[in-house]
Amino acid sequence: MGLFDFLRAKKNTASIAKDRLRIIIAQERSALGGHDYLPLLRRELLEVIRKYVNVDVDAVRVDLVKDGEHDVLDISVALPDQRASAA
């Protein structure tokens, strides 16, 4: 810090960058993230369902969807075609 530094216009752009990043990253994490557990949940669901129904590996879909203010855990399971499995 020099004696005559006050003469120069001071703007700390690093702190602007940090604030902008904090906001955008928090937003993006809540939109995409927080779903670290989804792959594991999907696998465990698949194992449980397979005890009762013989479904494909890709039959279980787990998504986190935003519905207004709420997060909805959207789980869909495609059951095998009855006729195909009977044949």
Binding site: F4, N12, A14, K18, I24, E28, D36
Partner: protein
């Protein structure tokens, strides 16, 4: 035990290949058996940075497609007996890589007794980047202290926590930040995000901070990874990062502004 390390970033041009080359050399210099693989099919560059571009006969895609054996395709480094390079294909497109193919190569390297496999990821979040990170045990996320790089790194951290083999098995990839092109003077002037800022925003600790340095370009000009230049602050900083990756504790260097003399202090020079 083979440790698979992916060097990734999301954003291009932040120093992934420079970092991959230096980490691989650094690990080999500590006596480890190392393979470094270029996953950037179609835009290979690791060979140039490693200085072995004229010795590429077969590449990663040739091995995956069964056109060459792994032994034929691995390029032995001239400086370190235990260091090997697997170049990317320059002519194929990135769909030439398959998950099964990549797994086979990694398994074969593990069976061959490699201590470390360094996967140099392409930029972006598409197939090549996905496959580079999928099998990783550890990730070195290369970040410039700059908004777009930090944001993209956060995206990559999200993918590491969800789209990798470890994530699918309910485990975590061990993540490290590596800051490159760091300028203590600009941080001091409030013009650049500091180490603490980046760590706080991304919620992760740094394993190394590489100062902005002309030595990095000089090193790539010569095809000698900058870590080999131990005169250079960047080279020393990379060596510190390698030691930390191997579990050593070392203080951060080159991250503080050098103290100015009395007169430059007085006049703000």
């Amino acid at each position: 035990m083979t440790e698979i390390i992916v060097v990734t970033s999301g954003k291009g041009g932040v120093g992934k290949t420079t970092t991959s080359a230096s980490l691989a050399c650094g690990l080999a210099r500590y006596g480890k058996k190392v393979a470094v693989i270029d996953f950037d099919v179609g835009l290979r560059n690791l060979d140039l940075i490693m200085g072995c571009e004229r010795r590429v006969v077969y590449d990663f895609v040739n091995v995956i497609q069964g056109e060459a054996s792994l032994r034929q395709a691995l390029i032995k480094d001239k400086r370190f007996e235990t260091l090997h390079v697997l170049a990317a294909s320059q002519t194929r497109d990135k769909d030439a890589l398959t998950k099964e193919g990549v797994q086979k190569v990694l398994d074969d390297l593990a069976a061959d007794g490699f201590d470390y496999i360094v996967c140099d990821s392409p930029a972006g979040i598409e197939k090549g980047a996905f496959l580079a990170m999928y099998f990783a045990d550890q990730a070195v996320v290369v970040v410039n202290p700059e908004v777009s790089s930090v944001r993209d790194s956060d995206r990559i951290l999200g993918l590491l926590a969800s789209k990798t083999r470890r994530a699918e098995n309910g485990e975590r990839v061990k993540e490290h930040l590596l800051l490159t092109r760091y300028s203590p003077a600009r941080v001091d002037a409030g013009e650049m995000l500091s180490i603490g800022d980046v760590e706080e925003v991304l919620g992760l600790k740094t394993v190394g901070v590489i100062p902005e340095s002309p030595d990095v370009l000089n090193a790539s000009n010569k095809g000698e990874p900058v870590i080999l230049d131990l005169e250079s602050p960047a080279g020393q900083a990379y060596d510190d990062a390698v030691a930390r990756l191997m579990g050593e504790t070392r203080p951060m260097r080159f991250t503080q502004l050098e103290k100015k003399g009395f007169f430059s202090k007085l006049f703000g020079g």
